[in-house]
Symmetry: C2
Subunit: 248 residues, 2 copies
């Protein structure tokens, strides 16, 4: 397996793509996703976990609203992970994560996830390298548990933006009244730690890559949404699901 190096991966869509065409394809898939999710729910054999990670301003909320949020909320739930509460901190780091994992038939979206415990925590040195290694092993064991013991299919997305794009988006939050609520002066402080964040992300991808991460070029929303819709669409169609018929 070749190692993931973020600086080798473009944050933009391939130049020859037709934006209008891609947007149409995404729209079509989003409609179909709603039907596929209904089938997943009805059949009740598989669980789906969608993990979304990315720097501030990388567009995590947008993906959830535009791609994942279009399905029936009865079968799709979103959990946003913030800084752990005192009760969460008094348990192992996967305790709060495991609790929110999907039951069969459900799609669970994690806006941030277990991976914060080897990202922000390492960047700020709240967690040493040895602990980080142990956490990575624990995450790998945990994802295997979900896959092997509840038929859970895990999609992991990293929204890959450039630091320039991030700066532009964070600055917008100071100007656009509809975005001001997202403004947090600390985000600019975090942005200064860009290089070390990239290093920790790479370490995470290269040690916790089964199931594999998708690095999503995310400077343009239309392309980011297309990639994520495509992956989820492929996963669900590949399950060969059937409506279960009348209960016996």
């Amino acid at each position: 397996m070749s190692l993931i190096k973020l600086s080798d991966i473009s944050t933009r869509a391939p130049k020859d793509l037709d934006k209008t065409d891609i947007k149409k394809k995404t729209e079509k898939m989003v409609v179909e996703l709603d039907e596929l999710q209904n089938l997943l729910f009805a059949e009740g054999k598989h669980a789906v976990l969608v993990v979304i990670q990315g720097m501030d301003g990388s567009g995590k909320d947008g993906v959830i609203r535009n791609v994942l949020g279009n399905m029936n909320p009865q079968g799709v739930t979103v959990k946003s992970y913030k800084a752990p509460t005192p009760e969460e901190l008094s348990h192992d780091f996967l305790w709060r994560i495991h609790h929110a994992t999907p039951s069969k038939g459900m799609i669970q979206v994690f806006n941030r996830s277990q991976y914060e415990d080897i990202l922000i925590t390492r960047v700020h040195k709240w967690c040493d390298d040895e602990t980080a290694r142990k956490r990575m092993n624990a995450i790998n064991d945990f994802e295997k548990l979900l896959e092997q013991h509840n038929n859970t299919h895990i999609l992991k997305f990293y929204l890959h933006i450039s630091p320039e794009e991030q700066h532009e988006r964070l600055s917008e939050r100071m100007k656009d009244p509809a975005k001001m609520w997202k403004y947090n002066e600390k985000d600019f402080e975090e942005a200064k730690l860009w290089d070390i964040y990239m290093q920790m992300y790479e370490d995470c991808f290269n040690n916790c890559n089964s199931p594999a991460w998708t690095i999503v070029p995310a400077d343009q929303n239309w392309y980011k949404e297309y990639i994520i819709a495509t992956q989820l669409h492929q996963l669900l169609t590949g399950l060969n699901m059937q409506f279960p018929g009348m209960k016996k």
Copy 2:
């Protein structure tokens, strides 16, 4: 590591023990356990998980009442695992277990546990050998998670009784008005599966023995309680706990 063979282990106390003397020792420990638990709670650095397994009539409830139930219930909680609910069944088998694991400062008792998923389920062939192997690996990973990532100390007790003693106790449930509520005609059916249960227990001990199981001779309650009190007492005194002093 030598393999555990239950038929080689006595279900009774060593003959030279003085019952009165042992009971006094247990009483003294039970008083001290209350103080040690208070210290565990105050310090808030360690978590303790006590797993109790055993055949019907092996005295699980008695241990909980007489040894573990003497401590402050604010710091000691008991979870009894019955057949899984539909919601629990729609998640991986460790989901309901992880949820009830102890936070730092707490003693959590499991009356039956994750091990039922490789015991009763195998005896009745609801779970094939390959799945059982995967579950054993998942249990080992899970216990490592609790130990490494929340400072959880796990004590695992198997209450080892003879089939004759079990028959006597189950029969009592039909005669003693204070025990009738425990009577379940299915218990006698399960008892007929004794040998296969012993085989599955041995397989479990020999594959999930880190942390190690204590096989507790349990035909006599006074000895069973002594062994369990001793183990918990040793664990807690070995933690070298300190009251944390004034908060800064």
